[in-house]
């Protein structure tokens, strides 16, 4: 090897060691990793905090079920929607939840493909977050249909009504995008968890637990042949996952951009929605990571350096969001279109202006705190900013819908929108349902990928 090549090689090795020191629990032997991740699930009794959270989230889940039953009984008139503001909370919540739901698979596959070692600590629960959030997101468009029991009309099947789905309709694109995405995410998550479920099977002392984990582990033996096919499949899935996520949230953007309404008919929408999804999803991952780290005592596996890395991504996404908003304002002015200009004026000074300013504060100003290293490494600051980002992103979703629909092309149709108690209860209920599923997840499935952590540690020779 020439001198330069050796130098290059040494530098790469130094970099790998530095990454390992920061993001991997170096010096932790494989059996310690198994113990650290599996034992809290199998052995530890969960304290009062978990039970309190479980009771609260169970109550909220009942609230969700009750408000859905009432909705089906009474019809969508119980919501605040009217003939002008036809979308309201249901579609805003859908977009917000699917945004959070997109982040897990995006984070997991993008970081796998770019060989980011810090992915290992967060990928498992980020993917679980994806599954739960995407499942909740799927509820909203269905219940918003008015007659949710007929949602299967979106499925193309030969029927006696002589009807087919309208392939040119964004609603049909949505159906295909979400259905594909849910099944894909489930397969991706389950495949990644398969070797860990086998670990749980072999470690469980309770006979019933061993049988249940054993059934889900499908007889995984850690054979070289298993790993050989696993690697081929898992990496190919990650490579497919990135364009899939981008397409799913682009389709959500197209729900708006394919319409002719002011503020919607913009070519920037698909990428703008994808970044927004990554933004709110990563913010949710930060909150969940902080909770899991504390709840399961995974301080060595999820370190402050992981939070630092996620905060940098949030900062970057926030800048992209600011740029997107500025682009929207600029093109509204530059187009010279009366309705577009009126809409931007309405955003800044109209009825919902306080909410709009709050959104800008949450999405564009507050995340700038992450330029400071101290803010990126302080959990209270991280959680505070992450929650505000999610509030801001939710406001963005509801405002995109209500501002445009309240000030469309036809002034005689201008009406304002105000949510009712049922809108709020359903939103609150789904938040509770999400927490409920997540609380059960951390008690049943290892929250961090044990086999991947062991493989990464071997790679860096630590």
């Amino acid at each position: 090897m020439t001198a330069t090549a050796t130098e290059f090689h040494d530098r790469r090795a130094d970099e790998a060691r530095e990454t390992a020191r920061r993001y991997l629990p170096t010096g932790m032997r494989p059996d310690r990793i198994t113990a650290a991740v599996a034992d809290p699930v199998l052995e530890r009794r969960f304290g009062r905090l978990w039970w309190t959270a479980f009771l609260v989230s169970s109550t909220l889940t009942l609230v969700m079920i009750a408000s859905l039953i009432w909705l089906v009984r009474e019809g969508v008139g119980i919501w605040g929607i009217n003939t002008t503001n036809v979308w309201g909370f249901a579609i805003a919540n859908y977009v917000w939840w699917i945004g959070i739901g997109n982040a897990g698979t995006l984070i997991s596959s993008m970081l796998l493909l770019t060989r980011q070692r810090w992915r290992t600590s967060i990928s498992r629960f980020a993917e679980a977050m994806t599954l739960f959030a995407a499942a909740i997101a799927g509820l909203f468009p269905i219940f918003h249909l008015g007659r949710p029991w007929l949602f299967y009309w979106l499925v193309p099947y030969p029927d006696t009504m002589d009807l087919m789905p309208q392939w040119r309709s964004p609603l049909v694109w949505d159906f295909f995008a979400i259905a594909s995405y849910l099944i894909f995410s489930l397969l991706f998550w389950y495949t990644g968890a398969l070797p860990d479920l086998a670990t749980m099977r072999d470690r469980a002392r309770n006979g019933i637990a061993r049988r249940i984990y054993g059934a889900f582990a499908l007889g995984w033996r850690g054979s070289a042949r298993h790993w050989h096919h696993y690697e081929a499949f898992y990496r190919a899935m990650a490579a497919l996952g990135v364009p899939l996520v981008v397409s799913v949230h682009s389709v959500v953007g197209m729900d708006f951009a394919a319409g002719l309404m002011p503020g919607w008919n913009e070519s920037i929408f698909p990428p703008y929605f994808v970044v927004g999804a990554m933004f709110s999803g990563f913010a949710m991952v930060v909150v969940l990571a902080a909770l899991i780290r504390r709840g399961l005592g995974l301080h060595r596996l999820i370190s402050l350096d992981h939070f630092d890395a996620m905060a940098r991504i949030l900062l970057f996404a926030s800048l992209v969001m600011s740029l997107s908003y500025a682009t929207e304002w600029f093109f509204a002015w530059y187009s010279g279109d009366h309705a577009e200009r009126l809409l931007v004026r309405f955003e800044f000074a109209g009825l919902y202006a306080p909410l709009y300013w709050t959104m800008i504060l949450c999405n564009c100003i507050v995340p700038l705190a992450f330029v400071l290293r101290a803010a990126r490494r302080s959990l209270p600051v991280l959680i505070g900013v992450a929650v505000l980002i999610n509030v801001g992103m939710w406001l963005e979703r509801i405002l995109i819908i209500t501002e445009t629909l309240s000030r469309g092309h036809l002034p005689s149709q201008w009406r304002t929108y105000a949510p009712t108690i049922w809108d709020w209860l359903l939103l609150l209920g789904t938040l509770g349902f999400f927490a409920w599923m997540f609380l059960i997840f951390v008690r049943l499935v290892p929250s961090v990928s044990m086999h991947e952590m062991k493989a990464r540690l071997r790679e860096v020779g630590a």
Binding site: D31, L218, H229, A455
Partner: protein, 174 residues
Amino acid sequence: MSAALLVARVGSADDLLALARAARELGFATLDAHAPHTVEGLGEALALPPSPVRSLMLVGGLGAAAAIFAYQYWTSVHGYPINSGGRPLNSWPAFLFATFETGVLGAALAGFTGFLWSCGLPRPSHPFFEAAAARAVTDDGYALTLDPRDPRARIDALDILRTRPEILSVEVIG
């Protein structure tokens, strides 16, 4: 012939690689290795053929995409034509959303099925599970398995293998 299994436990992934290479040179054709995580180079050490999973995914993905596109075309142009705002019946750009999503889904389903099929899973019962080492390989253990009656191995191969310094313990199942 009921399967017999010799399970040799080793202490690390590097030892597993070394032992796997040695055993293959001795002619064993029934080799398998077990580890708690992916071990780079283990596939080559055991001379595993390339995995068919990705080819299956390609075929599944392209097949599903072509099928749903053809179905959209047929229903829109021939089966159930509807004039929607004067747009052409064959609005193929609008058909590409469902085509792409279904293609990815087809690839994922084909890949998952192919992955399980190639691994021979689900298989709740296997002679390897009888070994004490089986529980360790999902934690921190590494083990090489082979059929001691492997007809392709050299006559004294087993004795040579047993003297390898990497081996911590040996179990014979069946």
